[in-house]
């Protein structure tokens, strides 16, 4: 659905996007991840024909962004970083304007406006001026604008910024419901966002592609050792924290034990295993055998956050297995 090849965008002095290539299949939700200034917005602007590429090409549904911009724009819904709304217009009025702008006939426009108002849960403010709305509502009006013409491809630049947790969950649900028929690219620097709603992740840093893979693969690939959170109950200074720590360190396969916390009668440790060792059963047995009350034992997966930091840090050093794999793609 989306095909980007050797895309480079150079501003006056800086290279914002440097030779990026990727493809997105129809119906996928892809997360576009990177620190601030990585080139996420620039790439999206090229895809939406807002900016022309300096080098390379980008195509949406087989139409090149430079050669057939109108065809591309018909098939794309775009929510920029700050929602492109006119504060002096009413919500329904604005959506009708945006819809007609995108080629919806006046006969259908009412129905479409009602549909997106409902989908984005903004029906209750349909008559209000956009300038009077809160950031979260404005964001959702922006999203409604992006989906009003039922585009094949949705390009969303940080769709959940400025929303409260409940609204974020609603947007996630909305995106998931849209996923089947629409191809969605969303950019974010909130990693849990990607873990929740995306099937694939494209990580870029300083304009370069760092990794492109599924969320599960990325976390697995970087998780060599197991990390376990362990909590022991104490009463009257018994057992002694250092005793527990010593005992845990002696368990076979443990590489490191860090005490995290000791309050409210609970001692919390984080235990890391050696490469490829299962340590949880042994840990539990040891704690129980010593006569202590084991209150919690759970694996701590490597979060996408850590994956991301590892990848982007490796990128800065200039050599990592992840990078060479990404280069192959």
């Amino acid at each position: 659905m989306i095909k980007v090849e050797g895309l480079t965008k150079r501003y006056a002095r800086t290279v914002a996007v440097d030779n990026i290539s990727f493809e997105v299949e129809k119906g996928q939700i892809v997360g576009f991840l990177g620190p601030n200034g990585a080139g996420k917005t620039t790439t999206m602007r090229v895809l939406t024909c807002f900016l022309p590429p300096t080098n390379g090409s980008a195509a949406v549904a087989g139409y090149d962004v430079l050669e057939h911009p109108i065809e591309v724009k018909k098939r794309i819904g775009y929510l920029p970083e700050s929602p492109p709304v006119y504060p002096e217009m009413g919500v329904a009025e604005y959506l009708a304007f945006a819809g007609k702008l995108k080629g919806i006939s006046s006969a259908d426009i009412r129905k479409r406006v009602d549909e997106v108002l409902e989908k984005c849960a903004i029906g209750d403010v349909r008559g209000k001026l956009i300038g009077k709305l809160s950031k979260g509502y404005r964001q959702r009006v922006g999203l409604a604008q992006a989906i009003i013409h039922n585009p094949d491809v949705l390009v969303l630049d940080e769709p959940t910024s400025g929303l409260d947790p409940k609204q974020i969950i609603e947007i996630r649900e909305l995106l998931k419901s849209l996923a089947g028929n629409h191809t969605i690219i969303l950019s974010t620097h909130i990693l849990s966002e990607v873990e929740h709603s995306c099937e694939r992740v494209i990580i870029i840093s300083q304009g370069k592609l760092v990794a492109i893979d599924s969320v599960a693969n990325l976390t697995n690939r970087l998780r060599g050792s197991e990390s376990v959170a362990l909590e022991v109950e104490t009463a009257g200074g018994n057992p002694n924290p250092s005793d527990v720590q010593q005992r845990l360190e002696q368990v076979a396969g443990v590489s490191r034990v860090v005490m995290k916390d000791s309050k409210n009668g609970r001692l919390t440790f984080e235990v890391e295993s050696l490469q490829g060792r299962q340590i949880r059963p042994d840990l539990a047995r040891n704690v129980v055998n010593a006569g202590w009350n084991l209150s919690e034992l759970r694996p701590v997966g490597l979060s996408l956050e850590e994956v991301f930091l590892q990848l982007t840090a490796a990128e800065n050093k200039g050599a990592s297995p992840a990078e060479s794999e990404a280069a192959k793609q």
């Binding site: 939406t48 024909c49 807002f50 900016l51 022309p52 109108i70 065809e71 724009k73 018909k74 794309i76 775009y78 920029p80 970083e81 700050s82 492109p84 709304v85 006119y86 504060p87 002096e88 217009m89 304007f97 945006a98 007609k100 702008l101 995108k102 080629g103 604008q145």
Partner: protein
């Protein structure tokens, strides 16, 4: 064409959702009314003086009131135009709504034509305020309506020209104040040029005079409809809109 009207309508409406349209209309109506008052006062006073010397002549409304009045209106318009055009594109760039326009399946030409037409409509509404005063002259006098119509046509053409230039300047910046200031400066310059070259007959002055948007209005004010002037204005409008479209396209490459 449908998209042009869509953008035109949106643009026109947004003038009226802010105080700017009402302010400009009130301002123009007030100034024009004051102009009518002074013009008639002078005519009446001169009439009395002539009568006392026994040389009374009938008042020619067209020559003595309407013509100077509409000439005055064309000058006032120079000061209003920047306030109409300064927001056209600069505001969209500032608030980011330009991203909606430029990523919708709309051609740049449709955007800038729509915006220009929207500004034109507001300008017509502002000019409409003067119809109240002119209407009074028709109600109580019998001026010839044909030169009045020609003068209005001149006002509309001159306004269209300046609005197109203002729109071009608005594409150059995202700061409305700068867009308005520069447009005002250009209008002022055009006005001053027509003053400076009025009594100068050197070749360079003639050229400057010919290019000045304001001097071409003089014929219209006299009630003379000369195709030379109409073509001048139309080609200036076309040229200004053309460089606006070039500038819009370069927005993509520059930003």
């Amino acid at each position: 064409m449908k998209l042009v009207f869509l953008i035109c309508k949106k643009e026109f409406n947004s003038y009226f959702t802010s105080p700017i349209a009402y302010l400009l209309m009130a301002f123009f109506g007030l100034i024009f009314g004051f102009g009518l008052y002074t013009a008639t006062r002078d005519v009446v006073r001169m009439g009395f003086q002539a009568q006392m010397m026994g040389q009374a002549q009938p008042v020619n409304l067209n020559d003595q009131i309407i013509r100077p009045l509409l000439g005055f209106a064309s000058t006032v318009a120079l000061f209003l135009i920047p306030m109409i055009t300064m927001r056209l594109i600069a505001e969209e760039k500032k608030t980011g709504t330009i991203e909606l326009l430029l990523t919708s399946p709309v051609k740049d030409v449709q955007i800038l034509l729509g915006k220009w037409l929207g500004a034109m409509l507001l300008y017509l509404c502002i000019l409409g305020m003067s119809a109240i005063d002119i209407g009074m002259l028709f109600a109580w006098g019998k001026p010839d309506w044909r030169p009045v119509l020609v003068a209005y046509l001149g006002l509309i053409l001159q306004g269209g020209c300046l609005l197109a230039i203002g729109e071009f300047i608005s594409t150059l910046t995202k700061n409305q104040i700068i867009a308005g200031g520069v447009t005002f400066f250009v209008c002022l310059l055009l006005w001053l040029l027509s003053w400076f070259t009025a009594f100068d007959s050197s070749a360079s002055a003639q050229v400057v005079n010919y290019l000045s948007i304001v001097t071409h209005f003089d014929n219209f004010a006299k009630g003379v409809l000369d195709s030379k002037d109409v073509i001048f204005y139309l080609s200036m409008i076309f040229f200004a809109l053309f460089i606006t479209s070039r500038s819009m396209e370069s927005l993509r490459w520059r930003s």
